[in-house]
């Protein structure tokens, strides 16, 4: 096992008594409790953790946080627990962690793309996808596969995720995002004011920059102040502390999503019965953003060689994790603050070769301290180029002009193995941008800060451009109080004292986004801006030369900011370089827009418990268990589980359908029709209301009668149908299609509430109150007669389209003599909890009639034999009643202009040659035309053929002995007897004759017996 050669003897917030073994690319390594995967890899001297996307260059760890572009790992010990795109800088180490580098093929140390890239690299300018790989277009799939494989970026697991994920809805008065000095202070003062507070931070430990700070608070090391602050907050019942919780999205109306990782620091799988991650969905009255700032690296030649790092990251590794990434440091900076990194380095006993300061005459307190420490400070200079292969071995340093625009003298190479750089800080404005607010440039801090917003949002600390510790603490306390006040708490009497911090005297910072080279940008070695996408300064310049002027276009052309780090590290440098090459200012150039999520979120956390059985509610009828016991296959209709057909052992689906159809037409079949939507409509104007929403007449429908109705939109197109029965003078029961019930009820409410509030009518859904069973076939009356003694079933007393109330199988029932099969048929409705009882009674008595259960598929065949439409299958929103041949169902003479009447009179609706619904009889009786097939008059016409319309319903009819279909045909009602052709994908053609859609019993004699 490798030794932790870069582990310091002491220091850091790790637990040296808890060593942990982990595996990287199959090799075992050791780290400590408290390490991140990145700090443990650095401790073990692992320099190369990946290969770059385009050029295959070796890459090392750059940062210590969410901004990491290179250290992207594939995590997981088993196939089911694979997690792609994990930032090693944010992944806590645990015993037995398995990870692999995601880029580099076949391996990070021997990279095929790297070799190719040396020759191939020149062929990969920005826009290389568009320029190179689009031609010939058919090769793209091949290219993409190769690029993806070589580029890596992880893969998803091939097995089901064994973990569970939770969602939690929260309401809070003050949500504080980030638990650094500003965030902790804000939470403290808001909580002291009595506000309900949530404090969330993406790291395991609260404290942010204070955990690696050299500064003292109230005379003590900063982490002691953090400890006290967290203790106070933890004791307050009004405060919810969320460590390991990334605020990833800031949505409308102060809705915030927080991704909490409950078990990712323990294992790649959560303990049994525990959730692995939790998504908090928070409505906050006020949000305090204390998200801090990200350091910007400096852009110099070969700045991607492993050993080049952010200055602040080097300090974090030393102070927080007790690891040091090298032996000899060159620090390059444009500001005072980064000097501390050299001090941290020197304090470990390792060597600081030089501090290279781009400013001509830096003057701050840290500059003096560096000199006093005997560190060589080279002013007015820059590291213009890193030297080395898989690790930095030198830094080329040259004098630069005062404006930082050009190199003014020869370079000298200093030998070193680490180059830390700081170009200043960029406030983490991402969340503030999520709802559309544009960040604004502040020249004094060389950074964008959050702009105006409509959200109830406040900002505190570095995100607002306040970088000093004293400012962060004070601003945090003030803003926390303000948030509490805004949320309605009295804060006047609160006396909040700001902790004492020694004020750091800093010299002026220099705006430095790009380091000049002795050669022009296009000739110098690559100067990387976005590491993950291999975007270079030369690439951005090329993009602007090629005419891309909008920053959004530059982004898309170069792919800058597209990686999993979303440009956290490189974007501001890239925008500055774009601005410079366009001769514009940075505010003129502007920023791209940040969108949710701030860091990648697992699909599991997004889905929560809404998966598998809980993905969508399932609705069962009262007789569901019987269907299951009797072998039904089910079909989803909306959320309903409906029996589809009931195969007997050895039967194919078609065998079962043929049997079910014949049994129904020959004796009696039964359908569970409970899923039909049922709307109870009452009120003195109920009849008038129904007249207005249906196309046909309702004025004379007597109590005890039923009628079929068509429902259209204002455009005249059919959208639902069903039977409505008159239960009383002011009382009706409307049925709708199974899938359309909720939509129809909302439609009725819309018209009642917005157009005709003067009508006294009340509607309520009673779908689930009733179990509905439809018995159909010549023996249905005989069967029903055995189960009722108070309903007169005589054919003249209980006519077709009548309904009766009475008792069936001893329970109260409504029986409707309506038919969707063309057979003598009764629809029995009983209160749902009696459903199973009545259903079973029917079977007890029905055995002698061969009572046969049938499902939706047989229902479809039986109704198609009769030419009955199914709204939504035979109609599609472009079909009016006349197109369907249902003019009998439109009452032109109703006094009120019903919904759809005007619509179906529009010019286009009354024109000649519309597509119309007809029956279709295949010439070959064994053929069934596939639904969706397009009709043509001439199958030999060259493609594209003239299409006449499509098949909407098509089945094999066992009772008729041939295929039957319904479909749209242009001018079809006038083309009876014509032959049309249905060309199929396999080249065959099915021939069919246009006919009436009523294939069976056209006079309707079977239902009138």
């Amino acid at each position: 096992m490798a030794t932790q050669k870069n582990r310091l003897k002491s220091g850091g917030r790790i637990d040296r008594n808890k060593p942990l073994t982990f595996f990287y690319n199959g090799q075992p390594y050791q780290g400590f409790q408290g390490d991140t995967l990145a700090s443990a890899l650095i401790a073990n001297g692992v320099d190369v953790i990946g290969r770059s996307f385009k050029y295959g260059r070796p890459r090392g760890i750059m940062s210590a946080g969410a901004d990491e572009p290179n250290a992207i790992m594939q995590l997981g010990a088993t196939e089911a627990t694979q997690i792609p795109n994990v930032r090693a800088t944010q992944q806590e180490l645990y015993q037995g962690l398995h990870c692999r580098s995601t880029s580099g093929w076949p391996s990070v140390d021997f990279d095929a793309m790297g070799l190719i890239g040396q020759f191939f690299g020149r062929m990969l300018p920005p826009g290389f996808y568009y320029k190179t790989f689009m031609f010939p277009e058919s090769f793209w799939e091949l290219y993409e596969k190769f690029i993806r494989k070589a580029a890596g970026f992880g893969r998803s697991p091939r097995e089901n995720d064994p973990d569970i994920y939770d969602h939690m809805n929260q309401h809070t008065e003050v949500l504080v995002v980030g638990a650094g000095p500003a965030g902790l202070s804000a939470a403290l003062s808001a909580a002291r004011a009595g506000a309900r507070v949530i404090l969330a931070d993406e790291n395991a430990e609260f404290g942010g920059s204070l955990l690696s700070s050299r500064e003292l608070i109230d005379g003590d090391p900063a982490h002691l102040w953090v400890k006290k602050a967290v203790e106070e907050l933890a004791q307050n019942d009004n405060v919810l502390l969320l460590p390991r919780s990334t605020v990833n999205g800031y949505h409308d109306h102060n809705f915030v999503t927080i991704h909490e990782r409950l078990a990712d620091h323990i294992s790649d799988k959560a303990p049994e019965g525990k959730a692995r991650q939790r998504m908090h969905r928070v409505r906050a009255k006020w949000v305090v953003l204390a998200t801090g700032a990200h350091e910007r690296p400096l852009v110099f030649a070969n700045n991607d060689i492993p050993g080049c790092m952010l200055a602040s990251a080097v300090s974090t590794y030393i102070r927080q994790y007790g690891v040091i990434p090298g032996n000899n440091l060159v620090l390059m900076t444009s500001n005072d603050y980064a000097y501390r990194t050299a001090f941290d380095w020197q304090d470990t006993g390792r060597k600081v070769i030089a501090i290279v300061d781009s400013r001509q005459n830096p003057t701050g307190q840290y500059v003096e301290e560096a000199k006093n420490r005997g560190i060589k400070v080279m002013t007015g200079s820059a590291v213009i180029q890193a030297e080395g292969g898989k690790r930095v071995n030198g830094a080329m340093i040259a004098p630069i002009s005062a404006d930082g625009d050009r190199v003014t003298g020869d370079g000298t190479v200093l030998s070193c193995d680490t180059i830390a750089s700081s170009g200043g800080w960029s406030p983490v404005v991402h969340l503030s941008c999520h709802t559309g607010s544009r960040p604004v440039w502040r020249g004094d801090i060389h950074g964008f800060v959050p702009g105006e917003t409509v959200q109830q949002q406040l900002i505190a600390g570095a995100v607002s451009g306040s970088y000093s510790l004293s400012e962060c603490l004070k601003e945090g306390l003030d803003i926390g109080l303000l948030a509490a006040t805004n949320a309605g708490h009295a804060t006047d009497s609160l006396n909040v004292t700001v902790p004492k911090v020694e004020e750091l005297v800093e010299g002026e910072r220099m705006a430095m986004f790009y380091v000049p080279h002795s050669k022009p940008t296009s000739r110098a070695p690559k100067q990387f801006v976005d590491y993950q996408n291999d975007v270079t300064a030369a690439g951005i310049e090329l993009a602007t030369r090629e005419g891309f002027e909008s920053i959004e276009h530059v982004k898309r052309y170069t792919a800058m900011g597209f990686g999993t780090d979303q440009g956290k590290m490189g974007n501001i440098n890239g925008m500055a370089i774009t601005a410079k090459s366009l001769n514009k200012t940075i505010p003129e150039t502007g920023t791209t827009v940040f969108r949710p999520n701030y860091t990648p979120v697992t699909f599991g956390a997004i889905a929560g418990r809404h998966c598998r059985d809980l993905f969508d509610p399932k609705r069962y009828t009262a007789m569901h268990e019987w269907h299951v016991e009797n072998g039904a296959k089910f079909e989803d209709v909306g959320q309903w589980k409906r029996p589809w057909y009931y195969p007997k052992p050895g039967e194919t689906m078609q065998d079962a359908l043929n049997r079910e159809c014949r049994a129904t037409r020959e004796s009696v079949g039964i359908l569970d029709a409970s899923t039909l939507g049922k709307i109870d409509i009452q009120g003195k104007d109920a009849r008038e209301f129904i007249s207005r929403v249906y196309t046909n007449a309702w004025a004379k429908l007597a109590v005890g009668k039923c009628r079929y109705g068509l429902m259209c939109g204002e455009d005249g197109m059919v959208f639902d149908d069903g039977v409505t029965s008159c239960l009383g003078e002011n009382h009706f029961l409307m049925t709708t299609t199974s899938g359309g019930a909720a939509r129809v009820l909302e439609w009725l409410e819309l018209y009642h509430q917005t157009e005709w509030p003067e009508l006294e009518v009340y509607m309520t859904s009673v779908t689930d109150h009733w179990a509905t069973m439809s018995i159909a076939g010549p023996n249905s009356r005989k069967l029903l007669a055995e189960l009722t003694d108070d309903i007169d079933l005589d054919k003249d007393n209980f006519k077709f389209m009548d309904w009766r109330q009475g008792t069936v199988a001893g329970v109260p029932a409504r029986v409707f003599r309506i038919s969707f099969t063309g057979e003598l048929s009764f629809e029995i409705n009983v209160p749902a909890h009696y459903g199973m009882h009545v259903w079973k009674k029917l079977f007890e008595h029905g055995a002698k009639y061969n009572l046969t259960p049938y499902g939706t598929e047989t229902m479809h065949v039986l109704r198609a034999e009769k030419g009955f439409i199914i709204a939504g299958q035979d109609t599609d929103g472009s079909v009016h009643p006349y197109d369907l041949g249902m003019s009998w169902c439109v009452s032109e003479n109703k006094p009120f202009s019903f919904i759809g009447k005007r619509g179906m009179k529009r010019e286009d609706c009354v024109k000649e040659n519309r597509k119309q619904l007809v029956g279709l009889k295949p010439k070959d009786p064994s053929k069934v035309i596939p639904e969706g097939s397009q009709a043509v008059d001439n199958p030999n016409q060259p493609i594209p053929m003239t299409m006449l319309g499509h098949v909407t319903s098509s089945y094999y009819s066992a009772c008729l002995g041939h295929g039957i279909a319904m479909g749209m045909i242009r001018n079809g009602h006038n083309r009876m007897g014509d032959t049309v052709y249905y060309p199929q994908a396999d080249g065959s053609v099915i021939e069919a004759e246009i006919c009436s859609p009523i294939f069976l019993d056209p006079k309707g004699e079977r239902q009138n017996v």
């Binding site: 949505h251 409308d252 109306h253 102060n254 809705f255 409505r283 709802t435 559309g436 409509v454 204002e714 455009d715 909302e746 409410e749 819309l750 509430q753 917005t754 157009e755 509030p757 202009s897 009447k901 005007r902 619509g903 009179k905 529009r906 010019e907």
Partner: protein, 102 residues
């Protein structure tokens, strides 16, 4: 996700409970049969798509099932006002502009 005040339930509820129903204050012509095709087409299909204040209809679909009106800024998504069916908005693009000029 919006946080919408239902004027009937008199509570803020999550957007998941509501359905958006398009532009508000579109009245069905009193005598459809006398409308020209153009007039009927306007009623049927033509809708405003303003950048800024928009009056739209929502329904508390899984709550009280009541329809109501919302004045919303389509740029910022701020809900400026919620009012019942039959009422008129007090905040409109016109009076906002007038207020700005005054």
């Amino acid at each position: 996700m919006f946080y919408i005040y239902c004027p009937y339930c008199k509570e803020h509820r999550e957007e998941e409970e509501f359905h958006a129903k398009g532009q508000a204050h579109i009245e069905r012509p009193a005598d459809p049969d006398s409308c020209t095709d153009k007039e009927w087409g306007e009623y049927l299909y033509f809708r405003k798509n303003p950048r800024g204040l928009h009056h739209e209809m929502w329904v508390h679909a899984v709550g009280c099932r009541k329809f109501f009106n919302v004045t919303r800024d389509t740029q910022t998504y701020e809900i400026k006002e919620v009012y019942k069916m039959g009422e008129r908005p007090t905040i409109t693009a016109q009076n906002q502009t007038a207020a700005k000029q005054a």
